[in-house]
C-alpha cells in the first residue's frame, strides 16, 4: 500500500508531446482509474509509472521514494497487460513463478507462494497447463496471479478486460473489486470504458489529449463535471451538449443536459421533436429525437412507455440538472 505521486510528468515522442504535464496523487490503497478517448495517452502515462517508458521530464514517487530513474523491477509495481502477455512456453505454475525464479527464490518458498496465489484465483487445477490450453478469463487470472505473487506496492492494469466478452467482463469487474478489497493495495487501472471506470473506481482521472481534465470520485464526475469534455465522457448514454444559439439563449457557451434528466411528453413541453429511433433496453428506453433548431437529442424514458419512430413528442429539461459552461 503506497502513495503514487506524479509531478509535472511529460513525454515527447520525437517532436510530438503526448503527455503534457501531469500532476497527480494516488492515495495509498486507492483504486484509481484513468479514462479517456483512444490516443489520449492513458497507456503512455501508465507505462511511465511502470518504468517501461522513460519520461521526458517530471518526477515519479512511489511510497515516498523517488523512482524516476529506477528500473521497472525496482519500483515495487506489477503490471497486467491487455493481451495478458503470458509466456507461451511455460506452464501456469512457471508463469506465475517466473519473477520468483529470476530472483532465485528457494524452491519450497516459490512453490508455496505460487500455490497460495493460485488458490485465491481458483487456478489450482490448471497449474500444469500451458496458457494456450486456457480460456480468456483463466488467462487473465494467470496474468493477475503473476502480478499478485510479486506482492507489489502498486498494481498497474492496462485495459485488462477489453479482450473478454461482456458477461465475463462484468464478472471480472466484480472479482477485481473484491481483490482490491482483500489486498488493500494501490491500484491504477486504465480503460476507455466509462462503465468500468464508474463501477470500480475510488477515483477517476479523466485524460484528454495528454492533460488531466478532471479528477474526482465517480459521482463527483457525474454530478459536477468540470468541463464539457468530462460531461460528454462520463455517463451513458452520453450527455446532450449544445453550442450556438441555444447556449447563447441560456447565457453560456456550452449547454448540457443528460438524457435521464429530460421529461418527455406526448402533449406539451419546451422542445418539440420527432422520434427517429427507439432503443429498448428493457427497464429503460433511449429515444433518439430530432428537434427543430437543436438537432439530435437523446432522452431516456421508462421502459414501460411505448414510442414509435416518426411520432412527434415534446421534451423538457429538468432545470436543476442543467450544465452551463
Amino acid at each position: 500500500m503506497s502513495r503514487v505521486e506524479l509531478k509535472d510528468l511529460r513525454k515527447n515522442f520525437g517532436g510530438l508531446e503526448v503527455i503534457k504535464g501531469v500532476d497527480l496523487t494516488v492515495e495509498p490503497g486507492e483504486f484509481c482509474v484513468f479514462v479517456g478517448p483512444s490516443g489520449c495517452g492513458k497507456s503512455t502515462l501508465l507505462r511511465m509509472i511502470s518504468g517501461l517508458e522513460e519520461q521526458s521530464s517530471g518526477t515519479i514517487e512511489i511510497g515516498g521514494r523517488d523512482v524516476t530513474r529506477s528500473e521497472p523491477s525496482e519500483r515495487g509495481i506489477a503490471m497486467v497487460f491487455q493481451n495478458y502477455a503470458l509466456y507461451p512456453h511455460l506452464s501456469v505454475r512457471e508463469n506465475i513463478g517466473f519473477g520468483l525464479s529470476l530472483a532465485r527464490t528457494p524452491k519450497d518458498e516459490m512453490r508455496r507462494k505460487v500455490e497460495t496465489v493460485a488458490e485465491t484465483l481458483q487456478l489450482t487445477d490448471y497449474l500444469e497447463r500451458k496458457p494456450k490450453a486456457l480460456s480468456g478469463g483463466q488467462r487473465q487470472r494467470v496474468a493477475i496471479g503473476r502480478a499478485i505473487v510479486r506482492d507489489p506496492e502498486v498494481f498497474l492494469f492496462d485495459e485488462p478486460l477489453s479482450n473478454l466478452d461482456a458477461a465475463l467482463r462484468s464478472q471480472m469487474r466484480i472479482e477485481l473489486t473484491e481483490l482490491h478489497e482483500r489486498l488493500r493495495a494501490t491500484m491504477i487501472y486504465v480503460t476507455h470504458d466509462q462503465v468500468e471506470a464508474m463501477t470500480m473506481a475510488d477515483k477517476i482521472v479523466v485524460l484528454n489529449g495528454g492533460r488531466i481534465e478532471q479528477v474526482g470520485t465517480p459521482m463527483e464526475l457525474y454530478e459536477r463535471p468540470a468541463t464539457p469534455f468530462v460531461a460528454g465522457f462520463i455517463g451513458s448514454p452520453r450527455m446532450n451538449l449544445f453550442e450556438g444559439d441555444l447556449a447563447r439563449e441560456m447565457g453560456c457557451e456550452v449547454y448540457g443536459i443528460r438524457p435521464e434528466h429530460l421529461e418527455v411528453s406526448e402533449t406539451e413541453g419546451r422542445w418539440t421533436g420527432r422520434v427517429r429511433h427507439v432503443e429498448r433496453l428493457g427497464a429503460d428506453t433511449i429515444l433518439h429525437l430530432e428537434v427543430e433548431a437543436l438537432g439530435p437529442l437523446l432522452a431516456r424514458v421508462d421502459g414501460s412507455r411505448t414510442f414509435n419512430p416518426g411520432q412527434t413528442v415534446h421534451a423538457t429539461p429538468n432545470t436543476d440538472k442543467e450544465f452551463r459552461y
Binding site: 521497472p72 503490471m79 493481451n83 496458457p131
Partner: protein
Amino acid sequence: MTRRGYIIGAISLLVAFVVFVIPFLFVAINAMKTAQDASSLDFSLPERWVFWENLVTTVQTRDYALLLAYWNSIVITVCAIALLVVFGAMVGFVIQRRPSRTSRVVYAFILAGLMIPPAVVPTIWVLQGINLFKTLNGMILIQVAYGLGFTVLLYRAFISTIPRELDEAAIIDGAKPWQIFFRVVLPLLKPVTLTIIVVQSITIFNDFTHPLYYLPGRENITVQLTLYNFQSQFVSQMNLLFMNILLITIPPLLVFIFFNRQIVAGMTSGAVKG
C-alpha cells in the same frame, strides 16, 4: 477428385520420379557394380552384386580419407550451425527490438551480405592475414558469414511476431536483457531454429565450392571433395564414385527424414499466441 485432378497428379508424380528418383536409382545401381561393368554407365542391372566390396574399398581409399572427411564436415557443420543460431537469433532480436541508427546500419550490412556476391581472392587474402587460411576454424567462420544474412532475416521476421509485451512482462518480473533473450525469446524461436538447423546444416554439409577454395590440403578434406578421390586416382572406377555419392548422401537424408515434420511446422507457424 476430378478426372483432370488425377491427370495433373499423375503428371506431377511422373516428373518428380524422373527428376528425383531415376538419378538416385542410377547412382544406387551403379554403386553395386564392378568397375568394368560400371564404366559403361548404363541402366542395366549389375552382372555381379559387389555392394560390400565397393563400400569397403571406398571407405579405405586414400588412407580412410572418407572418414576424415566425415569428421571434418561434421565439425564444420556443427560449429557453424551453433554459431549461426546463437548469433543469428541475438542479432535478429536486437535489430527487431531496438530500432536505432546503429541497428539499421547493421541491418543494411546484413542485406548487403545477401545481395553482394562473395569475392574469393580477397577473402583468401584476409584469411591468410589472420592465419585462418587452410584451417577448419577459418572454414567455420566463412560458413557463418555466408549463412548469417539469411539466418538473421528469418529470425528477425519471426521475432517480430512475438508480442513485445512478453519482453515487457519479463522486464517487470525483473529479467535482465540476456535473461529476456535466453529465457523468454529463445525458447519461442524453436520452430524457426529447427528450420534453420535443417536448411543450413544440409547446405553447409553439402558445400562443395567453398571448401574447394578456402580449405585446400589433404588433411582438410570435406565430404563433397572426396568425389575428387575417384576422378584423379582411379579414372575408370565409376562404381566407387557412385558408392561415395551414396555414402555422403546419407547424413542429409537422415536429417530430412528425422526433421521432416518440424521443417514444415517451422515454415508455416508464424504467430505465437500471447
